[in-house]
Symmetry: C2
Subunit: 373 residues, 2 copies
């Protein structure tokens, strides 16, 4: 089996699962319970937080645990709208290429008379320009939410430029970094962004745990009575999921250079081999070196056909992001680059820390066989 | 250690954790991924659903997995509000004793000009009466959301009566059964309710997984593109969490009579012993035989004092629900019974399937020592 669908999810590390198991059996109490057993759960959560505090340079009460990237994005929107004063009109700037959790939620919110949303479609190069932000800005704009890395094309937005624009206009800037965390160095992202969404299962953690990270939580009104999540979120939080997320994060951070070099090497090697084989295939976003995603258009055949051919050989790749897999329409992420009619040709190969060049050779061999037919 | 805080959370069963571990290591793929590995994840989820379909007699597409009870409750409100037509006024009937996830969310929603909420305060016996529903009803009423069992007092609402009222007036009736599932037989709850929230970690499952169960999902407009959750919910779902929830549910259902008898016996025994010892302590909701919660007021001392004294002997009980533990105000659940000034005396002992009479003897001994001082 060769797994090349790391943008969809990753295999949990052995020590991630071991930590989960150990904590779930020994420290099962509700961290909000007032007894020793509850305190021991709470202690585990506090200790786990250190890893994100140190890496991102944010306060412990700026880490709000969620069930994953989708809920982190929801929570951001919910929290920002909670700041809205009665009858205040709020304008949000987003993009057409955001993850469905933001894109569809904002589409629904837009129906409300007090909320307006501008969905910027990236320029031909897949990126949002400063000029687009300038054009979209309104006196009522409160929030910019723009992803760090797209889950289908791997295209990265210019977070530094967007952050500078937001600071200049005193706007709150959130970035969905679910596909970026663990794939590029984000240690300085809070120089630019006010809030960041991340998820454990994209970095070899387990599913069901993620976080919304907030630089200045003290500046935000909290919707709920303070609790273990400081009034930002309700619901029982789990020391086992959180500690296992910390283990996955720690594993990445401790090996950050090695991991990123490996991804870069895989990407470079694969693209070189593709070019050497002169296959009828277009590589999207080729110049970007900082992505684990190799996004392609198969020139003459459908991506599905190739994906299924690889599937039969136990090589697992995708033709769209998993969250879009039940929709058959055009891919929003491709529209800026190719319009609405290339999605049938799309193929996504996403490498992981443990992908080997031999794995990639196998894929090239099969691609050669099927694309040359 | 004697753990008597089962209303806050329960210890995961060994086979629950074993299943979690096995699935998380072997079937880690995103169930929405189009390849074999993704399909195997999806197959596990489909197989797991059978347990709830059979017990509750609901269709598979009426099971929407969430991260727990809180999110199930959110999702219900979100889904119901998605049915709202443009400019349509919507009225919701709830109670003052709902879990914070519903109570505080509805408080926030109430600020919107198109949404109104009536929070019924239960009668002196802790229950909502038909007459209260009649009084609250408006032409714009769309939803009744009333809990099955209160997490602090253990008081159960008359779901049959409320369901009949809702059917009579064509209202959608949701009940938060997070504290009821596994503590009383709910096999026929869908004769009365349209939607039910449940959570795994209250029945010896792991934290981070729950469900919103819907009787007629086909009657509801879906907010999102259809996906693995039929358009009701976004986000990656986890075969490991879901399969482990199914194991916990199966364990309960296969031993339902034994489990419920055990809870009943514990409760009866404990109350008898309390009475025999003639301790200065009032038992709330004494006549209810179907609750794992023994809710008391310590007549002359604070609940905290007793809780801490037990804590020192490694006996773990609570003085409020965990979700309220960071708030120091009156308990909403006690107000109908005693007004706003008895919460300092509150003590909650919640039994589990594996609580023994010897455990309870220990508690009685310590209560006698501390209450008789």
């Amino acid at each position: 089996m060769i797994y090349l669908d790391h943008a969809a999810t990753t295999k949990p590390l052995k020590n991630v699962l071991a930590t989960y198991h150990q904590i779930a059996s020994k420290h099962f109490a509700n961290p909000s319970s007032p007894h020793h057993l509850g305190e021991s759960s709470e202690d585990i959560i506090l200790a786990a937080k250190k890893i994100w505090c140190d890496y991102f340079n944010i306060p412990a009460h700026g880490i709000i645990f969620t069930s994953g990237g989708t809920e982190s994005n929801y929570l951001l929107i919910k929290t920002l709208l909670f700041q809205q004063r009665q009858n205040e009109a709020v304008h949000i700037i987003a993009t057409t290429v955001e993850h469905a959790s933001l894109y569809e939620t904002l589409k629904i919110l837009k129906r409300r008379s007090d909320i307006s949303v501008t969905f910027l479609q990236p320029e031909k190069n897949g990126k949002i320009s400063r000029n687009q932000l300038v054009q979209a800005l309104k006196p009522t704009t409160k929030l910019i939410t723009i992803q760090t890395t797209n889950s289908e094309t791997g295209i990265q937005q210019d977070i530094k430029m967007i952050g500078a624009f937001a600071q200049e206009h005193k706007l709150f800037f959130h970035t969905d970094a679910v596909q970026a965390f663990g794939k590029c160095n984000l240690a300085h992202i809070f120089d630019h962004a006010d809030a960041v969404s991340i998820s454990a299962h994209k970095i070899h953690g387990v599913k069901g745990i993620g976080a919304l990270l907030i630089k200045h939580p003290e500046n935000l009104a909290k919707p709920f009575y303070a609790g273990s999540q400081f009034g930002f979120k309700q619901g029982t939080i789990d020391p086992a999921l959180i500690a296992s997320f910390a283990v996955a994060t720690d594993d990445y951070i401790s090996h950050e250079k090695t991991r990123l070099d490996q991804l870069k090497m895989c990407r470079r090697y694969f693209i070189e081999q593709l070019q050497a084989a002169q296959l009828p295939l277009t590589i999207i976003n080729r110049e970007n070196e900082q992505s684990h995603i190799i996004a392609c258009l198969c020139d003459n055949v459908s991506g599905d056909l190739i994906q299924q051919a690889l599937n039969r050989q136990q090589i697992y790749v995708s033709t769209k992001s998993a969250c879009q897999s039940h929709s058959s329409g055009p891919l929003r992420s491709l529209a800026p680059l190719f319009g609405d009619n290339q999605h049938h040709h799309f193929l996504r190969i996403s490498c992981g820390y443990f992908t080997s060049l031999e794995d990639l050779d196998q894929v090239i061999k099969l691609l050669t066989k099927h694309l040359r037919k």
